[in-house]
């Protein structure tokens, strides 16, 4: 199935490259003025509470590794504060929704650090393998676990190429009302779905812009006029393991 998908996706990918190449040709002009950083916010207009999500939007993120501070953990602590998990896990098996990873090019010695979490794939392998349908993709592209139907088999944990999912091993108390979590279920980044539904940005993005380098941008990938779409159209971006053809919703720059 994934191979089919890759085949179907190939022309799209090609056309995106063409667009990028075109943009690079124009780039001499377009890059010079740059794109202002703080034009974010207001992109995610709150949907009425009684209206179902639709595929009009596809939420995504653009992360600039060039602005991501070495040793900075603000996005990780913001996520932990917002969703009620412990960022300094005592065990390697403790839940981890977002983590910082360090990259080093062995040849040049160039180093980069970036946050890694659920990439909110358009064709998520975790959804393909889930035996109960608990792992699902919302119409607006956010990949979630319906913990009411999750049986804790952890097949999705195995299937995810980004190591983004974790399993809750211990009983929990005092969870956040907006982020229910419990023993025996798998969980991962929800792109702060409760905040997105309220017209806000994910906690990590907000904290990165308020307290750190402003490396993260959240927005609607389906809207060509959104800040994120404009930047993706202007700058060279990369997606992690793009070779898998999963069409992830998280884009990176400068990696």
């Amino acid at each position: 199935m994934s191979r089919d998908h890759q085949r179907n996706n190939a022309p799209q990918e090609q056309s995106r490259r063409d667009i990028l190449r075109g943009a690079a040709a124009l780039g001499g002009l377009a890059l010079a003025p740059g794109v202002t950083l703080h034009l974010i916010g207001g992109e995610a207009a709150a949907r009425p509470a009684d209206e179902a999500v639709s595929d009009t939007h596809r939420w995504g993120m653009l992360i600039d590794a060039g602005k991501c501070g070495d040793g900075c953990q603000e996005c990780v602590t913001a996520c932990a504060d917002e969703n009620g998990w412990d960022p300094d896990g005592k065990l390697p098996t403790d839940a981890q929704w977002i983590r910082k990873i360090d990259l080093r090019d062995p040849k040049s010695g160039a180093e980069r650090t970036l946050p890694m979490m659920c990439q909110h794939c358009a064709s998520p392998p975790c959804v393909d393998v889930c035996p109960t349908g608990a792992s699902f993709k919302r119409a607006d592209g956010i990949v979630l676990v319906d913990k009411h139907t999750c049986i804790g088999c952890r097949y999705c944990v195995m299937a995810c190429p980004y190591n983004a999912r974790s399993f809750v091993h211990e009983p929990l108390t005092d969870q956040k009302a907006h982020a229910p979590r419990g023993k025996g279920t798998v969980e991962s980044c929800t792109m702060c779905v409760h905040r997105v539904d309220a017209g806000k940005q994910p906690a990590c993005v907000e904290r990165c812009n308020d307290a750190a380098g402003g490396a993260m941008l959240f927005g609607d990938l389906n809207d060509p006029t959104s800040e994120i779409s404009k930047r993706i159209a202007t700058y060279a971006t990369a997606r992690v393991r793009a070779d898998l053809g999963l069409d992830t919703g998280v884009y990176y720059r400068n990696i």
Binding site: A52, K147, H148, P171, K176, A177, P180, G182
Partner: protein, 156 residues
């Protein structure tokens, strides 16, 4: 064992359990009309529930199930039948004046569920206490009213 002795044991168990029933059951049990101990759930905030009380008593699980699927999959976050809203209105204050959690027998849900011996799994993941204390909610409401008053006084 002879049938009569079995009957005697059951009768003794019934008498014993009735005498050991928690305080909030015995209040209703003392009513002359029933004569049977029935649960008497603590009163929630406000004058009425989000739907007819009898309907809610019978169908609250179906309503919650339906709402949860709508919320998780469709992102529909209406308040009327949300679990969060149940918890907010039906918080029971403990001796320390803070809302009690589900592990306390006086928790609103337990007042009936213990009686009916129906286990609830909701609170293995969901919070069983309101996130904002009633005091904080009142303070917020007060400040909003003050703001409204100020804006009205200020005129357009």
């Amino acid at each position: 064992m002879a049938p009569s002795s079995v009957f005697a044991i059951i009768l003794a168990a019934l008498v014993l359990s009735a005498s050991m029933a928690p305080q909030h059951w015995s209040a209703r049990a003392a009513e002359p009309s029933t004569g049977v101990p029935v649960p008497k759930p603590p009163k929630g905030r406000g004058n009425e529930c989000v739907a007819e009380t009898d309907y809610i008593r019978r169908y609250h699980m179906q309503l919650l199930d339906h709402q949860r699927d709508d919320t998780v999959h469709e992102g529909i976050r209406t308040k009327q039948f949300s679990l969060k809203q149940c918890i907010d209105c039906h918080a029971v204050q403990g001796p320390d004046n803070k809302p009690v959690a589900y592990d306390d027998p006086s928790h609103f849900c337990r007042s009936c569920h213990d009686y009916a011996a129906v286990a609830i799994d909701c609170f293995e993941c969901h919070d069983s206490k309101p996130q904002k204390s009633a005091a904080a909610r009142e303070a917020f409401r007060g400040s909003m009213l003050a703001l409204e008053g100020y804006l009205k006084a200020r005129g357009p």
